[in-house]
Subunit: 352 residues, 3 copies
C-alpha cells in the first residue's frame, strides 16, 4: 500500500532521468502531476500539443516538459526541461510518482479459496475472497485482486494485473503483462443454438479464450469462449469498457477497440485495426490490417486494409460524408424537383 | 429483513397520510400496490394519466388515488381518495409498504474483510464477503451489500446504498444518499495510450472519480477514473444500466443518462441534460444546459442549451425528422428525376 | 472436476449412439471435436451445410457425420457416419466428450455464507464465497458457482447453472434448467423518477423478475425488476451478453436477443421474436409474434407479426434496403437535378 506515500522530485533529478536540458533553477521540486490548465505550484506538466503553447507561460506548474524548439525562457520560480518527446517523457515521470498507482502488497489473503493443486509463482498478490480452482497457474509478480474468480485449468502469466471482481472461466490462457479490469468476464459460453422442433438447442462451446502478452481489457467486457479451438486476442491489443467479443473471433496485434463496440462470432480482425465506440462487426467477416471503423458504424462486409469506414452499413469515410451531406440537402432537393416538375409541365402546356 | 412482513392500511389511514378527500367507506383496507390494470381487490392504485380514466371503474383495486376533478362515484366496496397529485401521493404510499423494500439489518458480517484502518459510522450494514481496503471510510446509515469491493482511501458518505458485487476502486469519493447497483465499476482506468514504435504505451490514469449527493447509478455501469484530477458526477444525476462514462467527464446536476449510452473522455455536460438510450457523445465536447439527445444518436459537436438533437451525426430534432421523412421519399424521388430527364430529352428532340 | 479427463470414442461406438450408417473402418477413434477446417486426425467433425461439401474430403478429421445423400466414399484411415441430421447428431456427440464441459462437484463450500432459513435440494453445488440470503430456495441438481449472490426470498429451480459472480436480487423467481452467465444482474431497480421541484424523485420498484424454464442469459446482462408485478422472461428465451431489459418488459417464449441490444420498459415481445445485436426497442411497444429486428435498428412503433424490420426508425427490411440504396445514389442525384435545372434554364432562354 503505497497510496498516500507522496514522494518529491527536484528539477535536477527529473532532468537526469530524462536526459533532458534544464532551463531554470535545479532545486525546484514537484509533488505531483497535472495538465497545464490544472497544475498548482507543486506540479509538473508537459507540452504535448502545439495548440497549448500559450498555456506553458500562464500555467502555475513548477516544471514543464517542453520540446527543444520552445525558446521562451521560464518566469521566476519555474523551470522548463527540454526533451525529445515531452509526452513520452511525461509518462516516464508519471510512473515515478508511485503514490498515484495503487500496488497491492505481495501475499495471499486468508479469505482466498485456493485449491491444493494450484501453482503460484513468486511475489504474487492474491486478494481477499479470490477463488482459484483446480490446476490454476499464476505467474510470478502477478496481482489477482479481491473477489476475482479463476476457473479450473486456467493459467495467468507473469506481471499480470487482474483487478477486483473479474471472472476468468475454465481453461483460459492469459499471457504476460496482461491487465484486466473489474467486472470483466473471460470465457463465457459463445451464443449458439440449433433451432429444433422443441425450441432452441444449445450448441456446446468447447473451446477456450487465449489472451496474448501486453493486452489490456477494460471493465465489464465480455469475451466468449470458442465453439471449438479458441477466441484469440493477440499481443498488444487494447479493449475498452463494455465491449463484446463473440466466439472464435481473432483480434490482431495492437488492435484498438473502444467502449461499447461489439464483434460478432468468427470475425478475423487484422493487426492495427481501430474500432471506434459503439460500432459493430457482423459475423464471419475478414477485416484487413490497419482498417478503421468510425463510431457507431457497422461493418457488414469484409474491409480493405488501411481504409477508414463509416455508417450503417459502413462505406469508405469519404463516401459516407458525401452521403451525409447529401441527406442534409434532401428536404431542399425535394422542393427543387417539385419546382422542376412544375416548370416542365408549364413548358409542355406552353408548347401545346 | 422486513421482506415478507406485509402490512395493511385502511382508506382512513391513507387518506390522513395524504391529506386527501375520501369518497367511499373508510374501513376498506389494502395489502399491496398495483397498476389499475393489474390490481386485485387487496391493492391500492392511482390515476396518473388521463388516458387511463376509464380503467378506474373497470379496475379491481380497492382504493384508487384520483385527481380532484374525478367526479364519478366509486362502486360498492371500493373507494377513491382525491388528492392534488395522485402520482406523487402514490409514491408516498408505496414507501409505506416497507414489505416491498428489502433493507438489510445493521451489522458487520463475519466473512467481510476489513482493514484495521477502516473507519465505519453508526448503523451501517456490511454484507458477507465485502472487502474494505486500507483507510476506507463508510458514513453513518450506509449499506454496503455482499461481495462489494471498496479500494484503498475511498470514502462513502452517509445513507448510501451499495448493492451486491459493486467494485469501487482506490481514492473514489462518494457523497450522501448515493445508490449504486450491482456489477457497476467505479474508478477503472481511463482508456489512454501513446502509440510508440513498440506498440501502444499506457498513459497512467492518476486521477479519481467523485460522485456527489443523491446520485443513482444503475447495474453494470462503468465510470473511469480521470487521467489527472477527477471524473465528476454532480448532485442528483441519474444513470441507467450499462452506461459508459469516460475519464475526466463532468456530468452536470440532475442529468439523466438512459441505458447503454456512452460518454467519451473529457466531455463537459451541463445541468439537466437528458441523454437517451444507446446514444453517444464524442470526446472533448461541451453540452449546454438542458440539451437533449434522442435515442441512438451521436453528439459529434458542441450542443446548444435547451435544444433537442437526433441522428448520426445529431442535428436538431426537427431537422432530423424532415431528413428522415425525405429519405423515405427517396426511392420515389429517384423515379421522378428519371422521368424528368426523359421528358426533357423528349422536349429537346421535339425542339430539334 | 472432469476437465482434463479426455475420453476416446471409436467409430463403432459413435455409430451405435447415433443409430447411423458407418462407411469405413469401425476401429477408427477420436479424442475431440472440431470443424472440418480445423480438425486434426484425432477429431470428429460434421457436414452441417451443403456449401462445405468439398471440405469433407480435404479435412483431416478422422470421422465425419454426413447426410445420407453423401455418396463419395472416405479415403483410407477415415470414416463417414451417415445420419438423418448431422448437426443435431454432432451436438449429441459433443456432449459425450464430458472432458470439455466443466461440471463442479456436488457439495457446499466452507466459505459460502448461507442463512439458516435457506432450503437446498439434493445434489447441489454451492461454490466458494457464494451468498444465499434469508429464505432462498435452491432446487435439486442446481449449480451456484463461486462469488454469486442470491437475495432474500429468491428461488432457483432444478438443474440450473448460475455461473460465478452473478447477482440475483431479492424475490426473483427462476425456473428449471435456467443458465445464467457471470456478471449478470437480475432484479436491479427499474429506471424511474418523477421530476419534482427539488430534483428527480425515485419511483419505488416494488415488483420482481420471473425467469421461466430453459432460459439462457449471457454475461454482464441487466434485467430490471418491475415497478409493480413482474419483468417476465418466458420459457426458452435466449439472451446474449450485455443486453439490457427494462422494468415490466415481457419477453415471449423462444425469443432470441443478441448481444448489446436493449429493451425499454413495459415492452411486450411476442413469442419467437428475434432482436439482433446492438438494436433497441422504445418503451411500451407491442412486438408481434415472430417479428425480426435487424442489427443496430430501433423499433419506435409496434411491430407486425412475422415481419423483418431494419433501420432507425425501423421500417420493413425491403423498404430499408431500397432507402439505403437510394441514399448511396444521392450525391449523384444532386448532380443530375442540378443539370436538369440548367437544361430547363437553357430551354427557357432559347424559348424567349
Amino acid at each position: 500500500m503505497k497510496d498516500d506515500n507522496i514522494s518529491q522530485l527536484s528539477a535536477k533529478q527529473i532532468c537526469k532521468m530524462l536526459d533532458g536540458v534544464l532551463v531554470g533553477p535545479e532545486t525546484i521540486a514537484v509533488k505531483g502531476i497535472a495538465t497545464l490548465a490544472d497544475a498548482t505550484t507543486f506540479d509538473i506538466s508537459f507540452l504535448g500539443n502545439d495548440k497549448y503553447r500559450k498555456q506553458v507561460l500562464t500555467s502555475k506548474s513548477a516544471i514543464v516538459l517542453v520540446p527543444h524548439n520552445f525558446v521562451t525562457p521560464p518566469p521566476e520560480n519555474r523551470a522548463w526541461i527540454k526533451c525529445d518527446n515531452p509526452s513520452e517523457a511525461f509518462i516516464e515521470i508519471t510512473q515515478k510518482f508511485n503514490s498515484y498507482q495503487y500496488i497491492p502488497a505481495c501475499g495471499i489473503h486468508d479469505s482466498a479459496s485456493i485449491h491444493h493443486s494450484v501453482a503460484i509463482g513468486n511475489n504474487v498478490h492474491i486478494g481477499a475472497a479470490v477463488i482459484l480452482e483446480e490446476n490454476v497457474k499464476i505467474g510470478c509478480e502477478s496481482v489477482i485482486e479481491a473477489g476475482s474468480y479463476i476457473g479450473p485449468n486456467s493459467q495467468i502469466g507473469e506481471h499480470c494485473r487482474i483487478h477486483p471482481n473479474v471472472t476468468i472461466r475454465e481453461r483460459s490462457i492469459i499471457g504476460q503483462r496482461v491487465i484486466i479490469h473489474s467486472g470483466t468476464v473471460i470465457g463465457s459460453d459463445g451464443f449458439g443454438y440449433i433451432n429444433s422442433s422443441d425450441g432452441h438447442k444449445k450448441i456446446p462451446q468447447s473451446g477456450v479464450v487465449q489472451i496474448d502478452d501486453d493486452v489490456e481489457i477494460g471493465a465489464n467486457v465480455t469475451i466468449d469462449r470458442a465453439r471449438f479451438d479458441k477466441t484469440w486476442i493477440k499481443r498488444g491489443a487494447k479493449i475498452d469498457n463494455l465491449v463484446q467479443i463473440g466466439h472464435n473471433v481473432i483480434i490482431g496485434e495492437n488492435v484498438i477497440i473502444v467502449a461499447q463496440a461489439g464483434v460478432s462470432g468468427s470475425v478475423d480482425i487484422g493487426n492495427n485495426v481501430i474500432i471506434a465506440g459503439q460500432s459493430g462487426v457482423v459475423g464471419h467477416l475478414k477485416i484487413g490490417e490497419g482498417a478503421i471503423l468510425m463510431a457507431k458504424s457497422v461493418w457488414s462486409r469484409d474491409a480493405e486494409p488501411g481504409v477508414a469506414y463509416c455508417g450503417y452499413p459502413a462505406v469508405p469515410r469519404q463516401t459516407f460524408w458525401k452521403q451525409a451531406a447529401a441527406v442534409q440537402k434532401l428536404p431542399e432537393l425535394l422542393k427543387r424537383v417539385k419546382s422542376l416538375e412544375k416548370e416542365i409541365e408549364e413548358m409542355k402546356q406552353a408548347a401545346d
